[in-house]
């Protein structure tokens, strides 16, 4: 029997980017908020002070900051005909854990999606006809438009202090920025970071090929910054320990460096760390959440009653909690009915390794930051005519020099032995004169009828709850897209003067052991129709109106960008709707 805690206005599940943003907004509205976080407390001064050992083996190779699979994991299979098996070592993505969530150890690549991304099915159908899309592709419109989200993108970027060059300022295309981006209401809060040699060389070649390269929007500070909440960050030192690490220099936007210093001291906010929410509780009508149940590390079960429940965990955990709490109809791929678990997506990433004459090129790849680099957007979304190519989707591509860390950054020609003196010689010869971006081709993954998550029939976690089962494979559309994009990408390096460009295409089947990104999306998607979406356009559950679900689980499909900018914008969008409308009259914000 769970022990009951005093009632709160709001309980927030998870204290990463969205949990801390929404908690900050709702405490500002005067509500009494408790956030329950599965992992430990983390802050810069205590754990990641500037002289903490940014140990690549500990953090990158051994996954120090991530959830331990022994605590909770997932099962995986490519096809419905297969039996899914539990993931025992993280591979394709890294489930975050702890205060700050993935926002602590991201690269801080802070993009906006294209206006057409939000109306994807209507847009593509209108331009190419419905028959151009594969029959089993289940892409949808989001129910929210870029124009509606723009003020919230802006708010998130100013929270983070994003460094970048505007490409479209109130409809006017700007020199040096991304000309394909939607109109932004004002420039980035900080100028773009200074670029190392590799990205500059890439940009020069891209320009010569007729593209319009621009600096990647970055949550690594190009200069000292004070955000609208009064929290300060210092200039990035280009150390190259961003993704997989916490920033010790107060230079990378994270909940810790932007919002938690303001949230934590509030008298109407409380954080419970090391506490895992096991279910969202419903009243007998099953149309109203009464709070959550969680367990602490002693195994004691607690009930936290609340009027409003904000589910703000990582994508797949959001879906898991909905399934375990029996909120919304589970998705059934056979009948193509149900909403929880559908339109689950990831990403289609590939790279090129470009070898240059080592007597002429010295790239110093260790001068880097998580989101430093020059990109082009000509092949993203629907920025180009897909008609002749027979696929939809795309991605940005760029020389994004996230790091030059020694274990990962050992580019050698493919015929080199995998170890021994010859390998060592090849590493030495190529380290300084090879370009291998941390992010190269960042392709979209659209949604399909047979890519989804549900509860595993066999495997259970330590609490006896069924694990979530991922069924995912690449479809021909994405593989075609990747071949096309990777070839275009390689041309730029060739134009830059590389002696040899090795293309590392993304190939099927989807491999759960190889890291792509941590951008799992979908499973509890937003939309206009409760038959095909779990949430309405304000991220409010269609079934339980006092439940809002944040995060990329709301994406109907993944675009060709990193998702966090859109995740942040949606959190502000949803919080604004809660503050302006829901609180005055709690109930459904959309009547379907």
């Amino acid at each position: 029997m769970a022990r009951k805690l005093p009632h709160r206005d709001v309980v927030v599940i998870g204290c990463g980017w969205t949990g801390s943003i929404v908690a900050n907004e709702l405490t500002d509205a005067g509500l009494n908020v408790v956030a329950i976080e599965r992992g430990p407390w983390r802050d810069t001064g205590t754990q990641y002070a500037p002289n903490y050992a940014q140990d690549e083996l500990r953090y990158r190779i051994r996954h120090e900051l991530f959830l331990r699979p022994a605590q909770t994991t997932f099962t995986f299979r490519n096809q419905q005909s297969q039996t899914a098996l539990p993931i025992r070592t993280w591979g394709a993505f890294m489930p975050p854990n702890g205060v700050g969530g993935g926002g602590l150890h991201w690269n801080a690549e802070t993009w906006r999606f294209l206006p057409s991304d939000f109306v994807l099915r209507s847009h593509l159908t209108q331009r190419y006809g419905a028959r151009f899309l594969p029959a089993d592709m289940t892409i949808q419109d989001w129910g929210v438009t870029f124009e509606e989200l723009e003020p919230h993108y802006d708010k998130y970027e100013y929270l983070c202090g994003t460094s970048g060059t505007a490409g479209n300022l109130r409809g006017k295309i700007q020199e040096g920025g991304n000309p394909f981006e939607g109109a932004r209401s004002r420039p980035y809060p900080n100028p773009a970071q200074q670029q190392p040699y590799g990205p500059m060389l890439f940009a020069k070649a891209a320009r010569e090929l007729g593209y319009k390269p621009f600096p990647q929007p970055s949550g690594n500070m190009s200069q000292a910054y004070r955000n609208p909440l009064g929290v300060r960050q210092g200039p990035c030192t280009y150390c190259g320990f961003c993704e997989w690490f916490a920033c010790g220099n107060y230079s990378k936007a994270s909940p810790q460096t932007t919002v938690l210093p303001v949230l934590m001291p509030k008298g109407n906010f409380q954080l419970r760390d090391n506490s895992e929410v096991t279910r969202i509780n419903l009243d007998p009508s099953r149309k109203r959440a009464t709070g959550v149940t969680f367990v602490d590390t002693s195994g004691t079960e607690w009930e936290q009653p609340a009027d409003l429940v904000i589910l703000a965990a990582y994508t797949i955990f959001n879906v898991q909690l909905l399934l375990l709490s029996q909120i919304g109809t589970p998705y059934d791929p056979q009948s193509n009915r149900g909403v929880v678990g559908r339109n689950f997506t990831h990403q289609t990433i590939s790279d090129c390794v470009s070898f240059f004459d080592r007597t002429k090129f010295v790239f110093n790849p260790f001068i880097s930051s998580g989101a430093i680099g020059m990109c082009i957007d000509e092949f993203n979304g629907d920025n180009f005519d897909h008609g002749p190519h027979g696929f939809v989707g795309g991605g940005y591509m760029g020389q994004v020099q996230t790091n030059g860390r020694p274990i990962e950054t050992t580019p050698v020609p493919p015929e080199t032995p995998r170890w021994g003196a010859e390998w060592k010689r090849a590493v030495r010869d190529n380290y300084q004169s090879t370009l291998k971006p941390g992010t190269g081709v960042h392709g979209s993954m659209y949604s399909y009828r047979d890519v989804y998550v549900d509860l595993d029939p066999t495997y259970r976690d330590r609490l006896g709850r069924p694990l979530v089962r991922i069924t995912m494979d690449f479809h021909e559309n994405e593989l075609k897209q990747n071949r096309f994009l990777t070839d275009k990408f390689a041309e730029i390096y060739q134009a830059a003067g590389a002696q040899r460009v090795v293309k590392e295409y993304r190939k099927g089947p989807y491999d759960i052991t190889k890291y792509q990104t941590t951008h799992l999306c979908g499973g509890a998607i937003m939309g206009s129709d409760p038959r095909t979406s779990a949430l309405n356009r304000y991220l409010q559950s269609w079934d339980v109106p006092n439940l809002f679900v944040m995060g990329a689980s709301a994406f109907p499909q993944n675009a060709g960008y990193n998702p966090t900018g859109t995740v942040g914008a949606l959190a502000y969008w949803s919080a604004a709707a809660i503050r302006s409308t829901y609180l005055k009259n709690p109930g459904p914000l959309v009547h379907a």
Partner: protein, 420 residues
């Protein structure tokens, strides 16, 4: 401004216990009325300026002014008294005259002498009207029944009569006398600094017996393992490079373009100066900026000095990423070592403490970031800490005595009191 709860600082209205039985005497005609909003409000503000809560509110209990917080002094421990209006265990049965004698004369209700952990040598500069206002406010807080035996000192310090000698040597009673040559603002600042703010409790050097060295006011003193820096206008050692606005911003927010507060000063900023009015902070700054210090105008160590060479290399490797190669830091985030007087202060206590053990700066509503300095004690040897601190104490215009490995070694234990 007082830096934290320090050493001597504060405490005790001792003797309260013995005398505080019986009912409250009838109110004299001239006692303030609990309806006198203006006086109560002024008293509340002065209580903040005097930072009474720092000692008299035990952070473990949250009962406002109920006492019990242990105040460490070089002579032993003293517990802050209960100054709520509780009749039995607080000051509810005191007359205003008894309260005034305690605050401004260091005398308990039966005439016994208080220990100067209660900073009456500074409070004596306050006007009787201000002390009465404080009393009026204290009368309005909830009474808490909390007996406190203040005197926890060992023999012979536990004998109060010994304080008669101390008072003769160090205590100069009397309210603040304005200087007609100076502006009203200067005089207000002087009053706040010398009286309720009791800045000298931490910032003025002390004798062996804890009395102020009166010829060196506010020129810096080491207490509780921190060096409360020179806050005169001395160019090398004090606030000479700070503008009046820098001082105001620092006291208001804990941070400015040059420095961030940590250690005992954090507590002072949170509880006291961040809540003071802008005109009062401005007055304090004007006064401090008008105080001359004993200038240190020595020459820096030669660049070829072996400690300087090693220190420069360590600085470049471990410090320059945040503090910048030229020591300039980042405004409001990373202290400017080139302009921070605490770097080149006579005693390197704070500098060594911060390098060895790290510290978190203060968070205030206007500056919530509270950036931290990491600890390097686990990473650097005594000789290396000595070298890098010697280097920053003799770079960018600073000139200060070299630090030895032995100086560093003494501060290794976290609870070390440092020199002084």
């Amino acid at each position: 401004m007082r830096e934290g709860l320090g050493l001597c600082v504060t405490a005790l209205l001792t003797g309260v216990l013995a005398s505080a039985c019986g009912s409250r005497p009838a109110r004299a005609d001239n006692e303030p009325s609990e309806q006198d909003f203006s006086m109560i409000e002024r008293g509340r503000y002065l209580t903040t300026v005097a930072d009474c809560a720092a000692c008299h509110t035990n952070p473990d209990s949250h009962d406002l002014f109920a006492g019990g917080r242990p105040i460490e002094t070089p002579f032993g421990k003293v517990l802050a008294a209960n100054i709520t209006p509780d009749l039995e265990t607080g000051i509810g049965s005191w007359t205003d005259a008894q309260f005034d004698a305690a605050v401004r004369m260091g005398r308990g209700p039966d005439g016994e002498r208080l220990y100067p952990a209660m900073p009456f040598p500074y409070y004596t500069r306050m006007t009787p009207q201000d002390v009465r206002a404080i009393r009026a406010y204290l009368n309005t807080v909830p009474p808490v029944n909390n007996p406190v035996r203040s005197n926890q000192l060992p023999f012979p310090f536990n004998i109060r009569t010994g304080m008669a000698v101390w008072d003769t040597m160090y205590f100069e009673p009397g309210t603040f006398r304005p200087d007609p040559q100076k502006s009203a603002e200067w005089n207000r600042g002087a009053y706040l600094v010398q009286g309720p703010g009791h800045c000298g409790a931490c910032h003025t050097p002390k004798t062996m017996l804890g009395g102020d060295l009166k010829q060196q006011p506010l020129q810096g003193y080491t207490i509780q393992g921190w060096f409360a820096p020179n806050i005169t206008n001395d160019l090398q050692l004090g606030l000479g490079r700070w503008s009046v606005e820098d001082v105001v911003t620092y006291l208001k927010t804990g941070h400015n373009r040059l420095a961030g507060a940590s250690g005992p000063m954090s507590e002072e900023i949170v509880d006291s100066s961040s809540r003071m009015s802008d005109p009062d902070l401005h007055a304090i700054a004007v006064y401090l900026k008008d105080l001359s210090g004993t200038s240190g105008t020595g020459k820096p160590l030669a660049a070829g000095n072996l400690q300087m060479v090693a220190g420069a290399a360590i600085y470049r490797d471990l410090c320059s990423a945040c503090h910048a190669p030229d020591g300039s830091g980042v405004d409001y985030l990373i202290p400017n070592l080139a302009l921070a007087s605490s770097v080149s202060s006579r005693e390197p206590t704070s500098l060594l403490r911060v390098v060895l053990h790290g510290t978190q700066t203060v968070a205030t509503p206007r500056e919530p970031t509270a950036p931290a300095m990491p600890a390097f004690g686990w990473q650097l040897t005594d000789a290396q800490v000595a070298a890098v601190t010697t280097y920053v104490r003799n770079s960018w215009g600073h000139a200060a005595p070299a630090v030895s490995a032995g100086d560093v070694h003494k501060l290794r234990p976290l609870d070390s009191e440092g020199g002084g």
